[in-house]
C-alpha cells in the first residue's frame, strides 16, 4: 500500500464534527466538500468547506443517512475520500463497502472490521481470545432460555441480557434472579429482533454502578497500533455522556500499561485501521473488563488530544492516505496534564427537553487552556431535527484541579442567549464535592439530580 495524497475529501456529517474534520483537512492542505440538508444551509460546515452540496431535506433518513445521495455528491465533486465523522453512517459497514466499490476511500476501518466490532458478542469473543479481560458471561449467542439459565447460575446474579447486534439500551434486560429469566429473555429477543433485525442475545455479569472508561487507539495499515491513554466517561445521563476527562483518576499507571499492551496486540490481530475506542467497565474493586469497540472517532476525542498533543482526526486522514503511524506521531507517546470536556447541549438543564431555536447572543470563552469545538455562532438557528450538541468546551490544566477550575471559569464566561443550554447542569457537576474528589460512577448524575 503506497502512501497517496488526497486532493479532496467529502465530510459525510454535520455540526461540530464536520467543522472539526474541515479544520484537519485545511491543515493538511486538502480541499473539502461539505454535504448538508436543507435545514443546515447556514451551518458553519457549509461556510468553511471549499464546496458544499445540498443532499436532501431536513430528515436524516433522506440526507445524512442517504448513502446514494452522499456517494453521488462525492462523485460529482470528484473527491478521493469520505470522512464519516461519528454517528450517521460512521459505523455502517455497507456504506464503507459502497465507498470502496465506487473508488472512494472510506476514512475508517475496513468493512470487515466494522462488521466484527458491530456484532457485540463476536467482538467480545474475539477480545477474550486475545487475552483482553471480559466480564464473565456466555461463550457466544444463547440458543435458548435454558442455556441462559445455566450460564447465569454459573456466574451468579445479577446478569444482563444484551442484543448481539445492539446498542443504545435496546434489547437489554437486567435479570436479578432465575425466576425472571425466561420472561425477560423472550422480551429482549423480541425487542432485539425488532430493532436490529436479529434476535440474537448474549449474557454477561451485570455491574450496578461501574465506571465507564475507554481507551483511544490509532492503528495504521501496516499493523502498528498505539494506545493514547484512557478517558473517564462515567458522567452520563441515560447513556448520554455529559462530561469526559483524561486521564481517569481510577486507572493506575500499571493498569494503563497492562491494558495498553494487551489491546495493542488484540487490535493489531484484528486488522483494525484508523482511530477507534475500546470501552471498558470498571467494577468497585477497580478491575477493568471489555465492553465494546467504537469503530470511529468519538465525540470526546479532544481530551485525549490535549493530554497527548496528538491530532486524532489528522491521524485518521493520514492513516487512510497509507502513511505509517511512526511518521504521523510526533515522537514517543507521553501523557501530560489533565483535560476535561463538557458537552454543551441545547436543552433545558432541569427538564432535559431539547431547546432548539435561534441563538440571539453567543460569546465563547477563550484564553489559556480553553478549546471550543462548535458549529454555532451569533444568530444561528439550532434545528430541531438532529442531536442537541451546540458546542464542546474542553479545558486543559497541569493537573485535574487546574482543569476543573479552568472549566468553571470558562463556563462562567460562556454566554448563550435565546435557547436553554446544559451549562447550569455542568456547573452543578463541577461544584459537587464527590466529583471534585473523583468519587463517582455511572450512577453519579442520577444521584445528583435526586
Amino acid at each position: 500500500m503506497p502512501s497517496v495524497r488526497f486532493n479532496k475529501v467529502l465530510i459525510a456529517n454535520r455540526g461540530e464534527i464536520a467543522v472539526r474534520v474541515i479544520a484537519a483537512c485545511k491543515e493538511l492542505g486538502i480541499q473539502t466538500v461539505a454535504v448538508y440538508s436543507e435545514a443546515d444551509r447556514y451551518s458553519s460546515h457549509v461556510r468553511f468547506a471549499d464546496q458544499a452540496i445540498c443532499i436532501g431535506p431536513a430528515k436524516s433518513a433522506r440526507s445524512y443517512l442517504d448513502q446514494a445521495s452522499i456517494v453521488s455528491a462525492a462523485e460529482i465533486t470528484n473527491v478521493d475520500a469520505i470522512h464519516p465523522g461519528y454517528g450517521f453512517l460512521s459505523e455502517n459497514a455497507g456504506f464503507a463497502e459502497v465507498c470502496e466499490s465506487s473508488g472512494i476511500k472510506f476514512i475508517g476501518p475496513s468493512p470487515r472490521v466494522i462488521r466484527l466490532m458491530g456484532v457485540k458478542e463476536r467482538a467480545r469473543a474475539f477480545m477474550r481470545e486475545m487475552g483482553v479481560p471480559v466480564l464473565p458471561g456466555s461463550e457466544g449467542v444463547l440458543n435458548s432460555p435454558e442455556e441462559a439459565l445455566e450460564t447465569a447460575e454459573s456466574i451468579g446474579y445479577p446478569v444482563i441480557l444484551k442484543a448481539s447486534a445492539g446498542g443504545g439500551g435496546r434489547g437489554m434486560r437486567i435479570v436479578n434472579g432465575p425466576g425472571e429469566l425466561a420472561g425477560l429473555f423472550a422480551q429482549a429477543q423480541q425487542e432485539a429482533g425488532a430493532a436490529f433485525s436479529s434476535p440474537d442475545l448474549y449474557l454477561e455479569k451485570y455491574l450496578a454502578a461501574p465506571r465507564h472508561i475507554e481507551f483511544q487507539l490509532l492503528a495504521d495499515e501496516y499493523g502498528d497500533v498505539e494506545i493514547l491513554g484512557e478517558r473517564e466517561c462515567s458522567i452520563q445521563r441515560r447513556h448520554q455522556k455529559l462530561l469526559e476527562e483524561s486521564p481517569s483518576l481510577a486507572v493506575t499507571d500499571e493498569q494503563r500499561r497492562e491494558i495498553s499492551a494487551v489491546l495493542r496486540k488484540a487490535i493489531a490481530a484484528s486488522g483494525y485501521t484508523s482511530a477507534g475506542t475500546v470501552e471498558f467497565l470498571m467494577d468497585e474493586t477497580g478491575k477493568l473488563t471489555f465492553m465494546e469497540v467504537n469503530a470511529r472517532v468519538q465525540v470526546e476525542h479532544p481530551v485525549t488530544e490535549f493530554v497527548t498533543g496528538i491530532d486524532i482526526v489528522k491521524s485518521q486522514i493520514r492513516i487512510a492516505q497509507g502513511e505509517r503511524l511512526r511518521d504521523i506521531l510526533p515522537g514517543p507517546l507521553e501523557l501530560r496534564g489533565h483535560a476535561i470536556e463538557c458537552r454543551i447541549n441545547a436543552e433545558n438543564p432541569d427538564t432535559f427537553q431539547p431547546s432548539p431555536g435561534r441563538i440571539t447572543g453567543f460569546h465563547l470563552p477563550g484564553g489559556i487552556g480553553v478549546r471550543v469545538d462548535t458549529w454555532a455562532y451569533t444568530d444561528c438557528v439550532i434545528p430541531p431535527y438532529y442531536d442537541s450538541l451546540v458546542a464542546k468546551l474542553i479545558t486543559y490544566g497541569s493537573d485535574r484541579q487546574e482543569a476543573i477550575r479552568r472549566m468553571q471559569r470558562a463556563l462562567s464566561m460562556f454566554i448563550v442567549e435565546g435557547i436553554y443550554t446544559s451549562i447550569p447542569l455542568h456547573q452543578r457537576i463541577l461544584a459537587d464535592p464527590d466529583f471534585q474528589a473523583g468519587r463517582f460512577d455511572t450512577g453519579f448524575i442520577q444521584r445528583l439530580l435526586k
Binding site: 436543507e38 444551509r41 457549509v46 443532499i55 456517494v71 455528491a73 460529482i76 435561534r358 444561528c380
Partner: protein
C-alpha cells in the same frame, strides 16, 4: 425620520417577520430588532447574518423554496436527487425537451445520473418550457432548479 415613520418601519419589521431592521436615510439611520419569532419563520425567512457567508461562497447554491420565482405562473422543476444532469437519453440523441416546447405531466424532461443509475425526471405540471437552468453534463445538488415551466 419622524417617530411615525419609525413606527411604520417597526410595523414593517413585524409584518415581514425579520429579526432586525436597519434603515439609513441620508444622515438618519434606524435599526429595529424584533423580540418574538418562531423557529419555523426563522428557518424560511431569515437572511443569513454571519452566514451571509454561505451566500457569498460561490460553490453553494440555494435549493428549494428560496428559489421559487416571483411570477406565480412560473414553476420550477427541481432535482429530487444529487447527481449529473443529462438533457437527452444518450450523448448523440436530441434533448428530451426544448425551450418553448409544451409538456404534460409525466413527460420525461431529463436524466439525473446518480451512482451509475439513470433517473428520469418527469414533468409534474403542464406548461411550456421557458428555460433550461443547467447545462448538459453539469452536476446538480438536491433541490437545484433544472427547468422553469410556464403555466398556459
Amino acid at each position: 425620520m419622524t417617530v411615525d415613520e419609525i413606527r411604520e418601519l417597526i410595523q414593517l419589521a413585524r409584518e415581514t417577520g425579520v429579526a432586525e431592521l436597519e434603515v439609513q436615510r441620508g444622515d438618519n439611520r434606524a435599526r429595529i430588532r424584533l423580540a418574538g419569532f418562531t423557529t419555523h419563520q426563522e428557518i424560511a425567512a431569515s437572511p443569513p447574518p454571519f452566514p451571509a457567508a454561505a451566500a457569498a461562497t460561490p460553490s453553494v447554491s440555494e435549493p428549494s423554496q428560496e428559489t421559487q420565482p416571483a411570477d406565480p405562473n412560473l414553476t420550477l422543476v427541481k432535482s429530487p436527487i444529487v447527481g449529473t444532469f443529462y438533457e437527452g437519453p444518450s450523448p448523440d440523441a436530441p434533448p428530451f425537451v426544448r425551450i418553448g416546447e409544451r409538456v404534460q405531466p409525466g413527460k420525461v424532461l431529463c436524466i439525473i445520473e446518480s451512482m451509475k443509475l439513470m433517473n428520469e425526471i418527469e414533468a409534474e405540471t403542464s406548461g411550456v418550457i421557458e428555460s433550461k437552468l443547467v447545462i448538459n453534463g453539469q452536476p446538480v445538488e438536491y433541490g437545484e432548479a433544472l427547468f422553469a415551466v410556464r403555466k398556459v
